[in-house]
Amino acid sequence: MENILEVKGLTMDFGGLRAVDSVDLYVKPKEIVALIGPNGAGKTTFFNCVTGIYTPTKGDILVSSNNGSAVRINGFKPNRVTERGLGRTFQNIRLFPNMTVLENVMIGKHCRLSAKIFGALFRDKKTRAEELKAAQECYTILEKLGLEKACDELASNLPYGDQRKLEIARALATEPKMLLLDEPAAGMNPQETVELTHLIRRIRDTEQIAILLIEHDMKLVMNLSERIYVMDHGQKIADGTPMEIRNNPEVIKAYLGEDIDA
């Protein structure tokens, strides 16, 4: 499979409500793709289906595995999805507030480590080496995002923008092939948003991973993404390059005349 993620006809019903209605989407390696749409369009539900928090009613979610074949991950538990290489962040920050910044990132490393109960109790050489390596790798990730100074702070003591960055750091620690960012710029001021744009592009370039992001900040979306999917009322109404989306009458209608250049 040449695409890193391929979603076909994804449908999610909550009782009588169809939150996501047969949506198709694909992401190629090292691509930055945005998923936009008005509030309540079903973007986050789509994310939750892909990352295993919900089990979709219908459709296929295919992820390319290491040997190139496609694996259908519908109904996988979230941790199994993460092991397959999809790391995500949350719209409303979901850090572990009473753990230190470094520990937060080390949780991301959890699924790549193998220490078992006896390793924990007797702390043999292998476990020690593994812990040390993990701690150092996580520290390196924090350095990349400029959070290394706060490494021993409790996550809840970080300023808002840094908490957002820490979420990305934690997702990076899962060693993903693709990063799913749910409104990474929510609540940020224009200056911070610009920094975030550079950060996301830098992550893609240095880590060589694909990025799928949900965002409302049109400037960020238009600057950053190579392709854009637009959802409204659970359905995909358009996809294409930023230029195509900008001029798509359907999209403009969905946003109720909102000036998408703003």
Binding site: R94, N98, L154
Partner: protein
């Protein structure tokens, strides 16, 4: 200030009115007279006024933002100091150990017994701390695993004559299996719902033990259980007390050591993350099933081991030793001491077990003091006496720290 006085005054008046019938009027049914004790009303009024005023003052002080920001609890400062000065830590550990080892030389059997019980509760508290403090799973039926351990030894010893040291691991393992059995159905539950199910589980175990006469001898319990055997030595009663005390000291140290390591391991981190945010934790690649079951199983193991020790120490057990009150006491130890904090749990166990013993003269008021203390704790220090202290990593000396 004036407002505070007014509020306290109102509270005082209200209490004077409420307590009027019981504190002021005293009917003498023999002489058919009514005695009016107006002085009592004044006492209550003044008492409530002062009490309410102090209460308000404390609440205000607690909420004052300046105090909150700069305030670092003493316990945190001590822990930080000890973490930075390994020498001081070693010295403190040495002094404590020496005190524990010398204790039986100076004390009589009664004191040693009380201390042995306190040590047992420390271990139980540390075990429950894994489930409640670290993994954040409110378990109200913890005593069930304690019962499993105790009955394992009692039955295996009285029917098959198996020795204490042989049954010890069996009891722990059996309790762990029961922990997993309880864990499976409650995987999806959290908070109140989990508490109710675990409470039910604890009661089920107790009721089974109480009613299944052929198996557990019902409410009359099992008597004549062997004391532990120490290298085949013939010990008299006092020596046996000492020996069990030393065994418990060793047990406690081992438990502290292991729980400390668990806390700072990959699994311990996963427990903390699970406690903090279950969905985020799963999305970051931590398997919920495994992690939760591991917490239940490990917590239960310690209860099982202590159950075996308990049965061997008392030589008689019956279901009355494993009531909900016991679970509640162990849970209070964890909550009072500070969830997730090892020194906290130790302090909590000592307070909860030793204070009632040494304050026997106030035993009538035990429950009211206990309840009052819990309410005060929840209002003023909900995080417990000792706040949880997270390890810091330094990236110059990271090798030594992790090697410890």
């Amino acid at each position: 200030m004036a407002q505070e006085i007014l509020k306290s005054l109102k509270a005082a008046l209200w209490f004077m009115f409420l307590t009027f019938p019981i504190m002021v009027i005293k009917v003498n049914t023999v002489y058919k007279t009514i005695e009016w004790r107006w002085m009592n009303m004044i006492f209550i009024g003044v008492g409530i006024f002062v009490g309410s005023f102090i209460w308000r003052w404390l609440l205000n002080r607690k909420d004052r933002p300046v105090a909150k920001k700069d305030f670092v609890p003493v316990s945190t400062r001590v822990q930080a100091y000890l973490a930075e000065n390994p020498m001081a830590k070693r010295a403190l550990q040495g002094v404590l150990l020496a005190a524990l080892l010398c204790f039986p030389i100076f004390m009589d059997a009664y004191q040693i017994n009380i201390f042995t019980v306190a040590l047992m509760y420390i271990v139980l508290g540390l075990g429950l701390n894994i489930v409640v403090g670290l993994a954040g799973l409110l378990d109200l039926g913890y005593v069930a695993f304690y019962a499993v351990g105790a009955y394992t030894y009692a039955l295996l010893n009285t029917t098959f004559g198996l020795s204490f040291w042989l049954v010890l691991p069996i009891g722990g393992a059996l309790a762990a299996i029961f922990g997993i059995l309880l864990g499976f159905p409650v995987l999806r539950l959290r908070g109140d719902y989990l508490a109710i199910v675990t409470l039910g589980f604890g009661e089920i175990i107790r009721l089974v033990l109480e009613n299944w006469n052929d198996f557990s001898h019902g409410p009359s319990g099992i008597a004549g259980i062997d004391k532990p055997d120490f290298f085949g030595l013939e010990l008299n009663l006092n020596q046996m007390t000492d020996a069990i005390y030393y065994m418990m000291v060793a047990f406690t140290i081992i438990t502290i050591f292991f729980v400390g390591r668990l806390q700072n391991s990959r699994i311990g981190r996963a427990w903390l993350a699970l406690r903090e945010d279950e969905i985020a934790c799963q999305a970051m690649g931590v398997g919920r099933t495994r992690t939760k079951l591991m917490a239940f199983a490990l917590g239960a193991t310690w209860a099982g081991l202590m159950g075996v020790v308990f049965a061997a120490k008392t030589t008689f057990i019956n279901p009355a030793s494993f009531t909900f009150l016991e679970s509640a006491i162990i849970l209070s130890i964890v909550v009072l001491g500070g969830m997730g904090s090892i020194p906290g749990v130790i302090l909590g166990a000592l307070i909860m077990i030793l204070l009632p013993e040494y304050m026997r003269s106030f035993s009538e008021y035990r429950m009211i003091v206990f309840g009052g203390a819990m309410v005060l704790m929840m209002v003023f220090r909900p995080q417990g006496l000792v706040s949880n202290f997270r390890r810091k990593y330094s990236f110059h000396g990271v090798d030594e720290r992790l090697g410890g």
